[in-house]
């Protein structure tokens, strides 16, 4: 086996570039896909519920119930519908026209003056547990402010002995877009990296051009590098595009260093491309390679990377599985780099993990590529 030859490598890279330029689908993957995905997801994915439709059932309206109901109509969190009959509200809940029912019984005002207090009944549609929990939180907030307002008006001591003073660091407004966009960039890079390279080796095998390559003096290392270099550059371009969109279109703050971001991204891209190449080398068949690439990248990156579901809450077995996912380390690095800054205690272990994956995938691909026909 001869050493790397720059001339041969240049030839291979140039050939790959021509192939990219002449089949528009690779260019589309690298530049149109991130724009399209980031636009759709940046606007489409949000966990901030506002204007939640709520039925407020007041059986006997009076001053007390009116002041409580005003808490709902005056808030941007709720879009209240006022009803007088519980049965009607229950039907609306069943037909998904409202998400929750706030029910004040007939004797509400009378029981307010008794020592055990008056119940405010809250019925939520628990199907979507996450939204249900948010709605409960909103109603709790409305209820508390109402209590405090009442206490202030009547001049007695404040209603609640313990007051929680909450500080949310790194994202004080709890804007879900701030954490979703960095995660989305990670997912998009996972898709692009694997998609770009998953088919390239399999295609050469399927079309028989691999045999043609074998009779030339190129080494397998050169073939691998020749595939890697063009797609790496393409991937860096699409990463830059995604970050630019995140910063200027979605107004996500970047507190960390841009150079560190560049370094981590380059490292991750090597791992993602390496994974695509490995799939492609093993599969030798475009159908299988495509299937494997989609199955091993998109859904795992979406569900297991900590992008949206908290890894710490998963069962231990699943947490162990997530450790084998390069996307997990990239998502964690990006969220920290964007929102918290250069926190080395988070970044360094992630960089180490990404390096291991990049070396592992590229190294394994190299080992599995033989200049041999089966």
């Amino acid at each position: 086996m001869s050493a790397l030859s720059r001339m041969r490598l240049r030839g291979l890279v140039r050939k790959e570039f021509y192939q990219i330029l002449r089949d528009p689908s690779s260019i589309a993957i690298a530049f149109l896909l991130p724009v399209f995905l980031l636009l759709i997801f940046g606007y489409g994915i949000s966990l901030d519920a506002e204007h939640v439709p709520v039925a407020v059932v007041v059986e006997q309206p009076d001053v007390e119930t009116a002041s409580l109901a005003a808490r709902f109509s005056g808030s941007s969190y709720f879009a209240p519908v006022f009803l007088s009959d519980l049965g009607e509200a229950e039907n609306a809940l069943r037909e998904r026209r409202v998400n929750a029912i706030v029910h004040l019984q007939q004797d509400f005002s009378r029981r307010l003056r008794r020592t055990d207090g008056a119940p405010i009944q809250l019925i939520v549609n628990g199907t979507d547990a996450n939204t249900a929990r948010l709605v409960i939180g909103y109603v709790q907030g409305a209820w508390q402010t109402w209590l405090e307002q009442r206490a202030a008006e009547s001049g007695v001591t404040p209603g609640t002995p313990l007051r929680i003073d909450q500080r949310v660091w790194f994202n004080s407004e709890l804007r879900s877009r701030n954490y979703l966009v960095p995660g989305l960039i990670a997912i998009i890079m996972t898709l692009i990296g694997a998609l770009l390279t998953a088919l390239v080796m399999a295609r050469e095998w399927e079309r028989g051009t691999m045999e043609a390559l074998m009779v030339t003096p190129v080494t397998m290392g050169e073939v691998l590098l020749g595939k890697l270099v063009p797609y790496f550059l393409l991937g860096l371009g699409s990463m830059a595009l995604s970050v630019a969109m995140g910063l200027w279109l979605f107004k996500v703050p970047l507190l960390g260093s841009p150079w560190l971001l560049f370094g981590v991204s380059a490292l991750y891209l090597l791992a993602a491309l390496g994974m695509g190449l490995l799939i492609s080398t093993v599969a030798k068949n475009q159908f299988v390679a495509g299937m494997v690439a989609i199955i091993t990248t998109f859904l795992p990156a979406f569900l297991l990377s900590g992008f949206i579901f908290d890894i710490g809450s998963m069962p231990t077995v699943v947490q162990v599985i997530t450790r084998f996912l390069p996307a997990r380390y990239f998502v964690a690095s990006l969220q920290t780099l964007f929102l918290a800054g250069n926190v080395w205690s988070v970044i360094l272990p992630n960089i180490a993990a990404l390096t291991v994956f990049a070396l592992l995938f590229l190294g394994t691909s190299r080992c599995l590529m033989h200049k041999r026909l089966e």
């Binding site: 790194f170 068949n285 859904l299």
Partner: protein
């Protein structure tokens, strides 16, 4: 006609299943993924690492800390003893939350003044932060109610919360039926979107066109294998969801299968449309991707459609998965009867018909 379709179907099955790798790839991953994702996909936090910085020697603060430490989903990891120790804990993600009780807390409470407690939350994942703050509020409410009862204060109004259809608010009940839709979409689109493109690339599609097959027959022959595989896999997945994950199946199976039938019909339609547009397998794969990724993300699977801007909500109307998720969740958790879901059935039928028509049309025209 059916004899010809039958022959084409057998050929498609052979093309799909004769190769061991492609056989494994079509059948095994969806089942494995359901198991892993079923456990992974949950919004419930069950081990929140938190730290307590308690400057107050009083009884009240100790009781408050005990409430947090005793809560099943909180897990105390550190007890910092100065302000300076808080930031590193949160920065390095060792603690998701820090509870800071000032030195005056017990004294304030005893004097009848409100005692303030600072809660610092890592907002890097704002959804986790919001859920966590909800848990904190619940604990604080419990503390308040007990304190008032002990000190003889009057309760004025109390909140009684009930959740219908999912009393413990387990997000797994919501997400596992969603995964059923997700995986079905994945398998059917992949199986069909490459089926025509592969023949085009290998040149066998021209041969197919000169046979006595009519485009409709080719269409049916290409669609049926995906249909049968999808149907089988879905049934397996539904069984796992009910028996393994214990998601309650409250509605009629017939309603579920009606929805399933239409969902497969519409997603196969899209798959075949993509396939007949593509010239190479790479283009077919890219097309499948461009359809599948947004369909999953914008289906209401993890983030509700109601949270999207209005124009985006209108875009989701062409997404078949959106309708299927409403049906499968309705049937599973709410036992929704057939007639209440009619508005979800016909859009899927329409999407399927439009796409299959376009695919049939493209079979003829796009030949090069």
């Amino acid at each position: 006609m059916w004899r010809r379709i039958n022959a084409l179907m057998i050929k498609e099955f052979l093309a799909l299943l004769k190769d061991k790798r492609s056989r494994v790839v079509v059948i095994v991953p969806p089942l494995v993924q359901l198991l892993i994702f079923g456990y992974a996909a949950t919004f419930d936090l069950n081990r929140i690492p938190f730290a307590v910085y308690n400057e107050d020697p009083g009884l009240a603060s100790r009781e408050l800390v005990a409430r947090f430490a005793g809560a099943p989903n909180f897990h105390q990891v550190a007890t910092p003893s100065s302000d300076a120790e808080i930031a590193p804990l949160v920065d390095s993600q060792r603690a998701l939350m820090v509870l800071h009780i000032g030195p005056e807390f017990s004294r304030d409470l005893a004097a009848g003044r409100p005692g303030a407690v600072q809660v610092i939350v890592d907002g890097r994942n704002s959804n986790t932060a919001a859920i966590l703050l909800g848990y904190v509020t619940t604990i604080a409410d419990g503390f308040n109610a007990d304190w008032m009862r002990q000190t003889g204060g009057a309760v004025t109004a109390r909140l009684e919360v009930r959740a219908w259809f999912n009393p413990n608010l387990e997000s797994r009940w919501f997400l596992v039926p969603g995964i059923v839709g997700l995986l079905t979409l994945l398998v059917t689109t992949l199986v069909t979107s490459l089926s025509v493109a592969r023949e085009r690339e290998q040149g066998t599609f021209d041969q197919l066109l000169v046979t006595p097959f009519r485009p409709v027959e080719i269409l049916i022959g290409k669609a049926l294998p995906g249909f049968i595989i999808g149907f089988g896999e879905l049934t397996a997945i539904v069984i796992i969801a009910t028996l393994w994950f214990q998601v309650p199946l409250r509605g009629e199976l017939s309603t579920l299968y009606a929805g399933l039938f239409l969902f497969l019909f519409s997603s196969l339609g899209v798959g075949l449309m993509i396939s007949s547009l593509a010239v190479t397998q790479q283009q077919g794969l890219l097309g499948a991707f461009l359809f599948m990724v947004p369909s999953v993300m914008l289906s209401g699977f993890a983030t509700p459609i109601a949270n999207m801007p209005l124009w985006m909500q209108h875009v989701t109307l062409i997404n078949p998965l959106r309708y299927f998720l409403v049906i499968i969740r309705g049937v599973f958790l709410q036992g929704t009867p057939f007639h209440m879901l009619a508005s979800q059935f016909w859009p899927m039928a329409a999407i399927g018909l439009v796409n299959l028509t376009i695919a049939g049309f493209l079979f003829r025209r796009r030949l090069y």
